[in-house]
């Protein structure tokens, strides 16, 4: 193959396999290897609500440019079971490759119990339509007819060689390594520097040197085999030297980092996918370091000594009702407190959120959305809780609602959600989602030096309250954010109640006090709307005079920006308005952008285009088009590119439903 037609450092790779077989660690090793070689990474993880046996897969993009989303096409499919070939071979590009286990060639679609009836009849129709049988070999034949390179890797034979080399008596002890053999074969076909994979294996297996050596030895054999079998493979990965350090992380980790940096010291959770990862990460890192550099030099020695012993307490509760109420109790003592959950758990938190709102308690709820309603698809993606989070609970209960669109925003929003909660003395709901939580990628080391902690109107030590001038928790004269004392501060006794209350916090049903308290609580939300700067409420990308403007929120940001890069390269004048603050709604900022646009395209991962409705309610401006997706799989930038192109060319229906995914 002439070098000119090679595709270097722009790759979409996928590995699949039964759950429990190490698909995630293989993808982790592949991505890390690429990152060690200086490439940027975006990884998408898909799995069933199942412990073992169901099909999971992981797609990784590696490039020298910016990458924030997945694409539909796969350039290398790495497999070691039959189901992966059946489910994903059709997604492989004509110039791509399939790495597979030749011993599985005669396995039929019907032999794989985890391929359900709908998918199975679809596959059979595909194969029969080409006059083929129903085996893995038939699937591969169809692929070969399209020009796809087939890379048979006899995994069992390679494992036997490794067992012999390392004197392992039973093959079953190293059978797990098959996943890293598939990675090794991928690197071989791509001719990527094998040393990068060794570094990645050291990352993945950390201190276990023997495990690293054995996996590396196996991967090397697969590497050499694939390199020999496909000497002319079109796709290549090349080491890009001199790249700066990068963070490689998931959205769960990013959110956790932001919350820790923001001073989170108490977090509760009840196990639920995909929210638990964040709490488990926090718990695994519960002992915290303190940076005393900012403390005044004259006090730093003694103060620093006092600041040692920092930690975050993570509590696994009996249910999500306990999770939100326990975090609220902790917040009453002055600890920055939060809970993290997903839809079903959030449903249980309604009453607690209302209590925090009426009692003006700063508590943060990080809501990892997943496909609903009810249990829905617990491990699949959706942005379906926007309206729910906005109105969660009975009565009018002010809350701040913000939504993150990428890993860096997860960090910053995790941080500022704690600030908003304390400054405006109300619950804050931070919307993230399954895609952000479970996807991973490289980002530049974020600059966070502008971030400051704002504890709001907090009663300081040495306050002037006494028996003669008693403390009033809900003092109208010092509102709308009345001075907030925390339990345990001398001369600041207060009362809380979920009932309407007077300035001291005692129950009242008085008509005048009721109105004043309702108005006080709402005034805080209005003030937040005035104080929070526009550039923290919305992001705008693209030409200011764009006639077509996309409106979206949350994790669709990555796919939209990647699609826009291609549209902008084709000189299309399209803008993108990302709404980050949902409550209080940035009405004038949003209206300002949308009023000028002739074509307004709402892009969302939910059935009913929830944001489009909210925008219309708040601004009176209707969308001309909606592009939605609700099959549980995040939008790819490629399908979004196609849909946006159709809208831009005037060829789209008002509503487009995206359907790609496996």
């Amino acid at each position: 193959m002439p070098p000119g037609s090679r595709k270097v450092n722009d790759l979409s790779w996928m590995i699949g396999g039964p759950q429990g077989s190490g698909v995630d660690s293989a993808a982790n090793a592949f991505a890390r290897g690429c990152a060690h070689g200086g490439l940027n990474i975006f990884g998408k993880r898909e799995y069933y609500s199942n412990i073992m046996g169901e099909h999971s897969y992981f797609a990784v993009r590696a490039t020298t440019g910016t990458v924030r989303s997945h694409v539909d096409v796969v350039n290398i499919l790495a497999s070691f079971d039959a189901e992966t070939v059946f489910r994903h071979a059709r997604d492989v590009s004509d110039d791509g490759a399939i790495i597979y286990d030749p011993s599985l060639g005669s396995t039929k679609v019907a032999d794989v119990p985890t391929i359900d009836r709908r998918a199975s009849s679809d596959l059979r129709a595909y194969l029969n339509g080409r006059g083929l049988g129903e085996t893995v070999n038939d699937m591969l034949t169809a692929a070969k007819q399209r020009g796809i390179a087939l890379v048979p890797v006899p995994f069992h034979d390679l494992l036997e060689q490794v067992a012999e080399e390392f004197k392992v008596d039973q093959l079953s002890k190293i059978a797990r390594m098959i996943n890293m053999l598939a990675v090794g074969a991928s690197f071989g076909a791509l001719r990527f520097d094998f040393g990068m994979l060794e570094k990645a294996l050291e990352d993945v297996f950390r201190a276990k040197a023997a495990v690293v050596r054995m996996n590396a030895a196996g991967a090397r054999r697969a590497y050499d085999l694939a390199a020999t079998l496909e000497p002319d493979f079109r796709y290549r990965l090349e080491h890009v030297p001199g790249q700066p350090p990068k963070l490689f992380l998931s959205g769960s980790q990013a959110t956790a980092l932001g919350k820790l940096y923001g001073g989170l010291r108490f977090q509760t959770y009840y196990p639920i996918t995909p929210a638990s990862d964040e709490s488990e990460y926090l718990e695994a890192n519960e002992i915290l370091d303190v940076d005393a550099r900012s403390l005044p030099p004259e006090t730093s020695d003694s103060t620093f000594a006092k600041e040692k012993g920092a930690s975050i307490l993570v509590v696994q509760t009996e249910d999500e009702i306990a999770a939100v109420t326990m975090a609220t109790g902790a917040a009453l003592t002055g600890a920055r407190s939060a809970t993290a959950t997903s839809g079903p758990g959030f449903s249980l938190m309604m009453e607690g959120i209302g209590w925090a709102s009426i009692n003006e308690v700063p508590v943060v709820i990080t809501l990892y959305q997943r496909a609903g309603p009810s249990t829905g698809m617990p491990t699949r993606h959706e942005q379906g809780d926007l309206r729910f989070a906005l109105h969660a609970g009975h009565g009018d209960s002010p809350r701040i609602l913000l939504a993150s669109g990428d890993f860096e925003e997860c960090i910053r929003d995790g941080f500022r959600s704690l600030n908003f909660a304390e400054r405006y003395q109300m619950p804050v709901i931070h919307l993230v989602d399954k895609a952000l939580a479970n996807n991973s990628g490289t980002i530049p080391l974020p600059r966070l030096s502008d971030l400051r902690i704002d504890r709001g109107n907090l009663v300081p030590d040495g306050h002037a309250y006494s028996e003669e001038s008693p403390y009033k928790r809900f003092d109208f004269d010092k509102g709308p954010m009345s001075p907030r004392a925390v339990i345990g501060t001398e001369n600041t006794i207060f009362w809380n109640t979920g009932d309407e209350h007077d300035e001291l916090g005692h129950i009242t049903e008085d008509v005048v006090l009721r109105n004043k308290m309702m108005e006080k609580r709402d005034a805080k939300l209005q003030l937040a709307g005035r104080e929070i700067p526009d550039d923290e409420k919305i992001n705008y990308f693209g030409p200011r005079d764009a006639e077509t403007v996309i409106v979206s929120w949350g994790s669709t940001k990555g796919a939209i920006l990647d699609a826009l890069d291609r549209l902008w390269a084709a000189k299309q004048k399209i803008g993108f308005l990302q709404i980050r603050l949902i409550s209080p709604f940035p009405t004038s900022a949003v209206a300002g952008v949308l009023e000028k646009a002739e074509t307004r395209v709402d892009v969302e991962m939910n059935y009913s285009a929830q944001l489009a409705g909210i925008v219309r309610e708040q601004t009176g401006i209707a969308m001309t088009h909606t592009i939605v997706k609700y099959n549980g799989r995040p939008m790819s930038s490629s399908e979004l590119f196609d849909a946006l192109t159709a809208v831009h060319l005037g060829k789209a229906e008002p509503r487009t439903v995206l359907t790609h995914g496996a």
Partner: protein, 321 residues
């Protein structure tokens, strides 16, 4: 300090003769006797008549949601273990809608006292049957005799793992005060079931019934109380060695079956050998008691974040070669 030091000026709107008055009074007496500073005490309640207690006591008072007093209280205590935390509920509140938290509080053994105002009815919603009302009993607002059987709070508390389990009677003020003092002093999760007649809706388990006014002819014309004190009969509830746990727990369960003509009050079970939740946390977080979540400084003088993420960020950083 006097009980009156813990009183507020809030109008008390309980029904005249309510058993809640005795519980309120004894809480104030106990706080005074233990000389606790009001700002170091948090009193947490759920929903119902019992929940109003906190508005009548001059300490931090947190009147929460139906059934949720325990998790709120748990959050307060965990974030600042230096506080004394007391929790009050009704039997519907604590054993019905809040039953899940009741069980899980036992698993934790947090150092706090939980008091249930036990009257067998939902008073504030006009007298429906509550979880401690016996099967077949028809209090006056019920259309039919109670179709559910009663839960035994003492059994439930023991099964859940409470390490101090007692029962008081709201008209025996001195005895109840002593129990509350003991419960506060117990290191671990203390559960106190208080028999508290509802004069408005429970016309069966009345003050007169507990006092045995109906049994005068059996006792030479004098009332023959149903309630008796276990300590008067040399009942020994204390676990002094781990080997005694089985016997003492069995003995407590057996005692807690008594009802009807003889209703025991006092301490059923006391086991100070179980580590508290706070102590278990300290095993993982050595500085927990000195630097609990609420007492950590998180920002410098100009809001500079004090949390140093270097270690975590390094672990997530890839340095390309």
């Amino acid at each position: 300090m006097k009980p009156q030091d813990f009183a507020t000026e809030v109008h008390n709107d309980w029904c005249p003769g309510c058993g809640d008055f005795g519980i309120l009074r004894t809480i104030q007496m106990a706080l005074a006797e233990l000389r606790l500073e009001p700002h170091r005490v948090a009193l947490v309640s759920g929903i119902g008549c019992s929940a109003k207690t906190i508005h009548y006591v001059r300490t931090y008072g947190v009147h929460t949601l139906h059934g949720r007093a325990l998790p709120f209280a748990t959050g307060i205590k965990l974030a600042n273990p230096n506080l004394k935390v007391l929790c009050v509920s009704g039997d519907g509140d604590g054993l019905g809608i809040g039953g899940g938290h009741f069980v899980n509080a036992g698993r934790r053994n947090l150092d706090m006292l939980y008091v249930i105002h036990d009257n067998g009815v939902y008073g504030l919603t006009k007298g429906q049957a509550a979880p401690t009302l016996k099967l077949g009993v028809q209090t006056k607002s019920l259309a039919h005799p109670n179709i559910n059987d009663a839960v035994n709070p003492i059994w439930l508390a023991l099964a859940a793992g409470a390490t101090w389990v007692a029962r008081g009677y709201s008209y025996d003020v001195k005895h109840l005060r002593d129990l509350i003092v003991q419960g506060i002093q117990h290191k671990g999760y203390a559960f106190l079931d208080v028999l508290q007649p509802c004069p408005t809706y429970n016309d069966i388990n009345t003050k007169e019934w507990y006092g045995g006014e109906d049994r005068k002819e059996m006792n030479a014309g004098r009332a023959l109380p149903r309630v008796y004190k276990m300590e008067d009969e040399d009942f020994d509830p204390v676990v002094r060695d781990a080997s005694e746990i089985e016997n003492k727990a069995t003995q407590a369960l057996e005692k807690a079956l008594e009802w009807g003509d003889r209703i025991p009050i006092g301490v059923f079970y006391r086991n100070g050998l179980v580590p508290t939740y706070e102590e278990r946390i300290q095993q993982r977080i050595p500085a927990y008691f000195e630097k609990p979540p609420s007492l950590q400084r998180i920002a410098g003088p100009h809001g500079e974040p004090l949390t140093d993420l270097t270690k975590l960020v390094n672990r997530l950083t890839i340095r390309p070669t």
